[in-house]
Subunit: 163 residues, 3 copies
């Protein structure tokens, strides 16, 4: 994998554009940025889900109600929202490293391929940010998620502050 030097150019190469970062409608916020000791910052991003026109892109558990392919597409949409939040908080070009990603996959009881779904998140982060987008990950199954969505993903990153 080559180091991506311009994540915005890479998004264009991939034929992708960032959505408007979803607004958090409660006492929580989409991102929190706190200083580390040497001028860099740690950024946390709230759990993101995939919406379209104000409704969930998909609803249901994988694979009985949402197919594996649709779940991967959904996971990619979550990743685009994560990137949109990072863009708004610090600017993608200032991200030094995605540190941790947690991917929750709404799963039928017997389903055990959460890693394939979560790769929809991981692959897109690495495609756009290169080595800086390669992260640690926990991918787990859950029986229920907000709005009935099949995937929710959150992350932490380290960045230079926006110049």
């Amino acid at each position: 994998m080559t180091q991506t030097t311009d994540p915005h150019a890479r998004l264009r190469e991939l034929g992708l554009s960032l959505p408007s970062p979803p607004v958090a409608l409660a006492s929580y916020v989409p991102t929190v940025t706190v200083p580390l000791g040497d001028g860099r910052v740690q950024v946390s991003v709230s759990g993101q889900v995939a919406m379209r026109d104000g409704a969930p892109l998909h609803r249901g558990s994988v694979p009985d109600q949402v197919s594996l392919d649709d779940a991967v597409e959904n996971a990619r949409a979550c990743a685009l929202n994560l990137l949109a939040q990072l863009e708004q908080a610090v600017g993608l070009q200032n991200v030094e490293r995605i540190t941790q990603v947690t991917v929750y996959v709404r799963s039928a009881d017997g389903f055990d391929r959460q890693p394939q779904v979560a790769n929809g998140v991981s692959d897109l982060l690495a495609d756009v940010l290169g080595e800086r987008g390669r992260h640690t990950r926990a991918a787990v199954g859950v029986n229920a998620l907000p709005l009935g969505v099949p995937v929710e993903a959150s992350l932490t990153a380290v960045a230079r502050p926006r110049a």
Copy 2:
């Protein structure tokens, strides 16, 4: 939301008092505080559940066994425990920012209103700590939690060390 300057005064205004911070009874501990580079510290708080007189405040999944209202009340009790742990670890007045909160809601399979339950945690943290209490959040459903409780919540924060 106005900036709360004294979280203890704010707790009194809300008619709340902090419980004794629950003791962890195993090889894990309620809080870990590690230095950041510039004299500040990062505080992690273990997953908190709501107990009363040594037994769970509620038991069961939401909403079939525990109502949505009771789940929100339970979430607020978890938040009070989180605050009690922060008070003991660093003192609430030294908290600079709650960074990340994870709320696990024990959910019946069809339940999709985890955000409303999690707002019981988020709203109380913001009520007591003001802007400093506004955090990123992941709210997810799970099919089982320790002791059968309906809600478990953990967090990380950044603080000045206790003077």
Copy 3:
């Protein structure tokens, strides 16, 4: 608990040896190490599961398909993998503190003893690393995990960089 000065000696005393750290086979990586401001580093370790000869050590939910005892054994194997990852990333002797551990236990709907399973992780970390291994923890139940395993565990730690 006495402070362990040499975690490798402690592993030998316990009759344990570290496995080869599992390789992540996707766009994510087993560990990410980022500098803190004062020469120390934060290490994140991806969710670890217990494998033997390329297959899951156990498969199923606790306690109906995997007994409580087997789940604890499985959790200890996850902890050994976490330690193996830390050894490879920074060296166990350089770990200053395990900060946060999350343990996901694949649970039958009525199961509420996730803490006992998670103690398999927590006890081993504390046995090997002493006070430095005592961490904050969230232990939760889930209905499904990758490869059908009963336990997945991830962590973050603070370390001195490898000399």
